[in-house]
Amino acid sequence: MSASAEATVVITHDVGLHARPSVKFTKLAKTFAAEVEIALAANGPWFDAKSIVKVMATKAPKGTVLHIRASGDGADDAVDALVELVRRDFDEGADHVRTA
């Protein structure tokens, strides 16, 4: 069965959606069968959340409202998991921020 889901989350990481968080983000996105996309505005443009090239190219700084949407198998789980990852600051303590 197919489904779709959409949510927004604010990036609180000090330097935004940068190299290491992008790696984590795309790796997690790839674990879902659903098609997952991100955007910096509700009306797009939308980018493949499984492509690190596309995710990094958004150059989303701290404070960005990130839009995440998914469609297909496990769409809800995919969006929930990715929102959680951003909310948890990509599991990075503040002491990591400056070295990334």
């Binding site: 330097v15 935004g16 790696v23 690190i52 090239v53 150059k59």
Partner: protein
Amino acid sequence: MSGPLRLQGISASAGYAEGPLFDLDQTVLSYVGKGTADEEKAALETAIAIAAGRLTVLIEMAVGDAADILEFQIAMLGDDALSSPAFTAIYAGQPADQAWRQALDAEIAGYDASDQDYFRARAADIRDIRDQVLRALSEDGDVQAPAGAIFYGEDIAPTRFFETDWSCGGGIALKAGSTASHVAMLARSRGVPMVVGLGASLAHLAGTALLDAEHGGIVLSPSKAEIDAFRHSSSSFSARRDRAGTFLARPAVTKAGTAVRVQVNIADPSDVDGIDIATCDGVGLMRTEFLFGKTLPDEETQYRAYRKVLEWAGDKPVTIRTVDAGGDKPVPGFTVAEGNPFLGLRGIRLSLARPEVFRVQIRALLRAAVHGSLKVMFPMIAIVEEYRQAAGMFAEEQAVLATRGIVHKMPPLGIMVEVPSVAIAPEALAEAAFFSIGSNDLTQYVMAAARDNAAVAHLNSVRHPAVLRLIAAVTAFGQRENIPVSLCGDAGGDPASIPSLLEAGLRDLSVAPAQLAMAKAAIADVSV
């Protein structure tokens, strides 16, 4: 035959290295075209796989930051979105190397254009990825750098850093580069000496070079005396560094218990990313010339840069110096070519001559001031009229912002004390909110010895009695008149000069972030 040549840049990682120069910018690649598009595509796929394979080998040996960077590069290489434009170009008739280069250059341009330092610094990573694949595509191997080499070039690839065995010494000297690059962070964490922003392009790249990444300089074709002096500084640095680490987290206090404020000098807003605010008393000098690197920055760009540093500092003061272009820091489209630039239209003189440029900076500063404890100072003030004119422009722009209902705040306005006229007769500038002694320029003007000329380097000493006497007089005048006096030249972070500066009465120094620990350690040894 030419004598020694001294170039000055910015220290990205303190330390000393003596070794043969290795040119990073030499071209080594030659790709032989394959004929059909399918063969070109296969060649590129193989090269990408080889490059990824090499990174995977490196990642086994890497930890922490290094592993993170490699993982990022491997992820990028494994992403079809990176290579698909190249494959499209191959089927349009391009050879693999050109197709790949164009696809990656487009990606790099995107990062170069970012208004955020962090993302701009990622351009070096993408260049690295590009060059690794190009290297794998070409049959010729890379020219190996000799052990202990000083890498000199436009910029350096992170993989070059990883592949180099730094245990036998060596260092990095870049014409461009950034203190926020991955390599700069790695160099700091591994203790590899590194200088960026050397600017000049050298015609003859050969022989031994002396890299002084404590003070941000490099000497090429050094004399015997320079080599001896360098080795002395180098061994004293190692000894001090070992001891200094323990002082970083503590407030600076002399042997006699006198507290000394130690602030940091920064050049780029991203410099603060590597500094723990708890280890310093604020920013004693934020240079703004870097913002004027390629083009004149607009108000928003400047505002964001200033705000970032102010928010990082919290309630600690941040002293921002209005643009000090000219002299040895030309800015295309702003500075003018002069026969004697150090005595010409530089610093506040240039800003007053180009009010349309200066007013943009003034507005950005007034707006940023609400985000922290901002102080603003003017460089190269020689007479009080310059101060009054600049302060008047601040008042005018403040009125403009007020009428438009834009949030702003007037910061205290001070001056750099670096032109001898002010150091000799500071009473003429008693209306300034504070003094910050620029010991680099003050010394070169008092001694009539350019600081970028190795031939007169022996004259360029802040510890000459003439210079110290002026510093002491300015400090005493400030104490009498209740004008705060600090010092933000290189001497402030130089352990050999710190005793003299404290004896001259200074209690407020601003130093390069890399010198913070050593400056505090040196202060602890002084008995004033």
